[in-house]
Each structure stands twice: as C-alpha cells, then as structure tokens.
C-alpha cells in the first residue's frame, strides 16, 4: 500500500550547494561565485540527481524477515504508526545541456541549458487506509478525514538562462530565468470533507459523506496512450519541448563576504508557475449526502407501486455528491525552495586554478579571491510543500586538496533522518571535472531500513583559460 502512493518533490542538494568548484552549484544558487572562464556539461551526463524519502516507514519495517506477522506490521507500523504528515517522496533531475561562459565584462558570468525533472510527493492517506483496513463498523461517530488525500507530481523540462554578476568585492548576485515545459502533471492537494457513520434519525445507522475532492491532471491521456502503445513516445517528448503546458519562473541568489574568510549565501529557486491547458483531464467529487438505507413511509409511498426505491436512493446520492470530469485549465505553483548558508574558510590558501594553469588570472576581483584549504559552516534548506514548509539543517566541512580534489561532508537533520551524513567528491583532471555525492551514508549498513537516499553525479569540461 505504501508504494501505491509513490510521489515526490524537490531534492535538498545540501552537498552540492555552495560547492563552487562544480558548475552545477550555479543551478541551486545563481549567485555562486565561480572562477571559470567557461564550462560545458557533457550532455545528459553533467548533472544527474536522484532522491527518495519516506518519513514514516522503511522497506525494512514491513519486509524484514523478522518473524513478526505481516498483518501486525501493517496494522501497527503503517495504519496506526504513520500520521498524515508522513510522506513518500522522490525526485530526479538530468541535465540535458548545460553551458556557462564569462562575458566580455569579466564580472558577469552567463549560464544556460535545459534540464529534465520529475518530482512528486504523496502524504500518508491515513483515514482512507484506516477505512479500507478496518471498515466503518465499530467506528461510530469517528470522522474519516477525506483531506488526508494530498498529493502532487510533475514531469517537465526546464529551459534556463542565468546571469551571475559580481557587484563588488564583497557581493555576487545572480538571477536565472526559467521557462517550464510541462509534460505530465497531477495535483490533488486541496481536498476536504469527511465520511462518518452515526446513529440514524429514522433508521439504525446513518452514513454521511461530505466531500470536496478534486484531482487535476494534464498530459495523463497522452501518457496513457504511450503506455498502451496507442501513441509514440515522441508525443511525450514534444510536450517537453513547448508542445505541452508552459510556465515561467525565476531563481535568485547571492554570495556575500562578511570578511575575507566569512561568507553568507542564499538563494530562492523556482518562484514560478505552470499553466496547464493542454491534455487536461480532471475529476471531482463534491457534495453532501446522508443515507439511512431504503426508506418506505406509508401512506406516501403506497401510492407509487412501481417505485424503484433502491435505484432512487443510488440516483439521489449521485445527484447530491456527483462524480464529474472536466477539462478546465488550471495553474500549479512550483515547489519553491530556499537555501541559506554561513561559511567560514580557514587553513592554508590554495593556489588559484587560473594561476596554476597559465598564470593568466582573470582581472576581475573574485578570481583573485584566496581560496582556503578548509571551510566549515551551516546551511538551511526550506521547501514549500502541500502541507506547508519543510526544513532541513545542515552542518558541513569542506576540504580542498590542491586544485585536483575537493571533499565536502555534511550532517543533515530533517524529517526523514536525524543521522544523515553525506559526502561529496569533486575531481579535476585537467579540464575534466567529475563529481559524485551521496548522503545518508550511515543507512548503507542496511539500505532497506533507510528512510532517505540521494545521490548526484556529473561530468563537465571546465576552462580557466585566458579571457
């Protein structure tokens, strides 16, 4: 059951954040201070990331070969053990194209590209599960909250162009415009209502449903046709290249040096929306009805010998709580993310890459910045989710080994884990840049018991050559 609600949302990239040796750091803070002349991501390999998390239960909790009755585990750990704020989430992102270059004004750095992204989140629909598992008997007057159904997900391509500008010696500011091309979307986040069984007014029991439920989808029909092989996959690909839903968004970010060694950074990502007006199919169930079974009240009903009491009851309920389809356009707002960090650099200075290569450091001030061997600090991550903002706190330590390797290790606390230790490695072999990052490493002792896993990797070509 837990996997039947597989959904997800944006990934916390706490290891990549502010890892200025890696070009993809610009995607999570367009105000990241870099010293590249230009870079080019290897198409489809420059940025691959994946994340999956479950805040309430792990695979091991249910499927461990521990001798505990499986039905007891379902009842105790899933049905009664999880709450409606627990979620199952996941996301992936693949850089299709990613380029960056320093402008004629060396204080400006431009980066642009296309990435493909899928994300979704599904909260634990506790009362639906309880109703399906236990039934309504012996739950007299217990309201089953229909608002527990809360989920959203999307697959899209993002076309982006960003400018990072060094304002002065202390401040670097960046902005990135985004054009979203939606492929598939589903959203059901504003459900309300309840189902309750009470003592009846006339009859023994009354079942009442008060529903305001809605599921909106776009691209689902095309996806369904592709899966059924009634349409080719190019139909979906077209949707990802302006043939589907379109939207606009923007990222902001900055890096500010409090002094030579202390830096604060921040970014806001995906302030934007998508307008879904193609291939839309939505469903709703809205209304209020109370049923006490078939009612025959004499003498009134004696005058209608052909009455179909049962069908009349069904029709009445369907009229009071109609299940309807519509194709009306709708708007979704992107899951906006916020990052912030405070970093302290210390230790021996590392010789700048530009100087090492050709002694042709760019004249702008940031490239002359001393890079220290060590950095330590803290980061904050907040994402806007259907049940409100969700935060993560990270402490990190970063170590540079000359210009060929940099490591960053993190400790993160969030709703998924209090023991999330992550590690990122950045390698520079000439112009070839490679990075690999993974977190929640302690959970690798038994991956099945993990509530969270993520990784990021990529390959880029970087030049610090003469401007």
């Amino acid at each position: 059951m837990v996997f039947a609600c597989f959904f997800a949302t944006g990934q916390n990239k706490q290891i990549l954040y502010d890892f200025s040796e890696i070009p993809q750091a610009l995607l999570i803070n367009p105000g990241t201070e870099t010293d590249f002349k230009w870079y080019s991501g290897v198409p489809a390999l420059s940025g691959i990331s994946f994340q999956a998390g479950s805040s309430g239960i792990s695979v091991n909790d249910l499927f461990a070969d521990d001798g505990v009755n499986f039905n007891d585990k379902i009842r105790d750990r899933l049905i009664n053990g999880m709450n409606p704020r627990d979620d199952l989430s996941g996301t992936y992102q693949i850089d299709l194209i990613n380029f960056g270059y320093r402008g004629a004004k060396t204080n400006n750095f431009y980066s642009f590209g296309i990435y493909h992204e899928g994300d979704a989140i599904g909260y634990w629909f506790k009362d639906y599960a309880k109703l399906a598992y236990e039934g309504n008997a012996d739950n007299l007057n217990n309201r089953f909250d229909l608002g527990h159904l809360k989920t959203r997900g999307e697959i899209l391509n993002v076309f982006h162009f960003g400018v990072t500008k060094q304002i002065d010696k202390k401040l670097t500011f960046g902005v990135r415009g985004k054009l979203y091309s939606g492929i598939f979307d589903f959203t059901s986040t504003k459900n309300r209502g309840y189902f309750v069984t009470t003592e009846g007014e006339n009859n023994l029991l009354a079942n009442t449903i008060n529903a305001d439920l809605e599921l909106k989808t776009s691209g689902a029909i095309t996806l369904d046709h592709v899966l059924d092989e009634e349409a080719s996959a190019t139909e979906l690909i077209k949707r990802g290249f302006f043939g589907g839903d379109l939207g606009l968004g923007v990222d902001f970010g900055f890096t500010y040096y409090l002094n030579d060694q202390t830096v604060i950074t921040g970014s806001v990502l995906d302030l934007g929306f998508i307008y879904h007006n193609t291939d839309v199919l939505s469903y709703s169930l809205k209304g209020n009805a109370t049923v006490e079974g078939v009612e025959i009240i004499l003498p009134d009903d004696a005058n209608n010998p052909n009455a179909n009491f049962w069908q009349d009851l069904v029709d009445e309920v369907e009229e009071l709580v109609p299940f309807e389809e519509n194709r009306e356009s709708y708007i979704t707002f992107r899951p906006t993310k916020l990052y912030g960090s405070l970093r302290y650099n210390f230790g021996e200075p590392v010789q700048p890459k530009t100087k090492m290569d050709c002694d042709c450091r760019m004249p702008n001030k940031s490239s002359n910045r001393i890079k220290y061997r060590n950095s330590v600090g803290g980061q904050l991550y907040v994402i806007n989710r259907p049940r409100g903002p969700q935060a993560a706190l990270t402490a990190f330590y970063q170590r540079r080994f000359g210009n060929i390797m940099a490591l960053k290790t993190t400790y993160t606390v969030d709703k998924y884990s209090y023991s999330n230790v992550g590690l990122g490695v950045n390698l520079q072999a000439g112009p070839v840049n490679m990075y690999f990052m993974a977190d929640n490493l302690l959970a690798y002792r038994n991956i099945a018991a993990s509530n969270y896993a993520s990784f990021q990797l990529g390959i880029n070509i970087i030049s610090w050559g003469k401007n």
């Binding site: 695979v59 091991n60 249910l62 499927f63 461990a64 070969d65 009755n69 499986f70 039905n71 379902i74 109703l131 399906a132 598992y133 236990e134 039934g135 309504n136 008997a137 012996d138 069984t197 009846g200 006339n202 009859n203 023994l204 029991l205 009354a206 079942n207 049923v291 006490e292 079974g293 078939v294 009612e295 025959i296 009240i297 004499l298 003498p299 009903d301 004696a302 010998p305 009455a307 179909n308 009491f309 049962w310 069908q311 060590n374 330590y397 170590r399 490591l407 290790t409 230790v421 590690l423 993974a438 490493l441 302690l442 690798y444 002792r445 038994n446 991956i447 099945a448 018991a449």
Partner: protein
C-alpha cells in the same frame, strides 16, 4: 585536524564500501489480509395507524422492490460473513405480522424473515440474523435482487392507540466482513 579529516573520510568511504542490505522477504505480501467490516442501514419501513385502519383486517401493505446491493459484484464476491439486525416497534393498538422475503431474479423466494409483534405497549423487538459460518447461507444474500415486504393487521381496524404517534416501524442494518485482499 589533518588526521581527523583523513579519518573522517576513511570511515565514510568504509561505510560506503561496506553497504549492505538485510534480507527482505517480499513474499510476506501474500500473507496480507484486508477484511474491513462494513456497516450500513438497509431498510426503514414506517406505517401509521391510519393506514392500517383504512383497510379491513389482514394484509394492509405488500410491496416488491428492487434491491441490488447484495448482488453487486463487489459485495457478493467478497463477503465472508455478516449479520442483519432488525428492530421493530409497534405503538398501534393492534398486533401485526411483518414478512420480509428475499427474492432472486427468477422470482423465487430464497428466505423469509417473519416478525409478529403485539399491540402497544409491546416495547422494542430486536432480532439479529447471522449469515455465513454457522448462520444462514450467504447465497441467500448473494442471489437477492428483490425484497418483498408484507405487513398484516392481526387485530381490528377501528381501535386507535393512545400513544402518540401511533405507528409501526421496522429498522434494519447490515454488518458484513468483506475481503479486499
């Protein structure tokens, strides 16, 4: 500090390299049993004493009506057992008989529940009829597509009750275990 850094990375890489997964038994899913117990009212019948007095003693109401919920595939294929509760109350001045017949598509009567209730004050009469296990056959319900309700006056048609309001009511509800998985 340098040593600490090195040790930290060695330990972290060691954890990565030694990652493993405890044995999982996904076949446990086959043991999953989901059997909710569903409960709902079924039928409510109400007749005032005027209705009874308007016709000569004997049957004063008989009606067949379509009743599909028991034969719906979702229910008939999955029901394991259950109980139907009937509750009668008679505040009229005459003894009454009430029959509920379960009828299939071929108009064959599969089962009859018969109730005889004394004139007021007779209190509330309740009967629980179990189906499945040691109770009546579930096939009665599975094949029921129609219910016939017959009510008879076993007294006179002139007297009136002193209780307000004078009427006979039949309430009923069903409580069934249904196997979803």
């Amino acid at each position: 500090m340098k040593k600490l850094t090195v040790y930290t990375f060695i330990v972290t890489f060691f954890l990565l390299l030694t990652s493993c997964i405890e044995e999982q038994d996904f076949d446990q899913y086959n043991d999953l049993s989901v059997v909710p117990v569903l409960e709902s009212s079924i039928l409510y019948l109400e007749a005032t004493e005027d209705v009874i007095n308007n016709v000569p003693p004997g049957p004063f109401y008989s009606e067949d009506f379509n009743f599909d919920p028991f034969s719906e595939e979702f229910f008939s294929d999955r029901v394991l057992d259950g109980v139907i509760t009937y509750e009668l109350e008679n505040t009229t001045s005459k003894p009454l008989t009430l029959n509920i017949e379960f009828i299939n598509d071929a108009d064959t009567v599969l089962d009859v529940e018969s109730f005889t209730i004394e004139a007021s004050p007779s209190g509330t009469f309740q009967r629980d009829v179990t189906y499945g296990n040691s109770g009546k056959s579930l096939d009665i319900l599975r094949n029921t597509s129609k219910i016939r309700v017959t009510a008879s006056n076993n007294g006179d048609n002139t007297s009136t009750s002193t209780v307000t309001p004078p009427l006979v009511t039949l309430k009923s509800s069903g409580k069934f275990s249904v196997r979803l998985k």
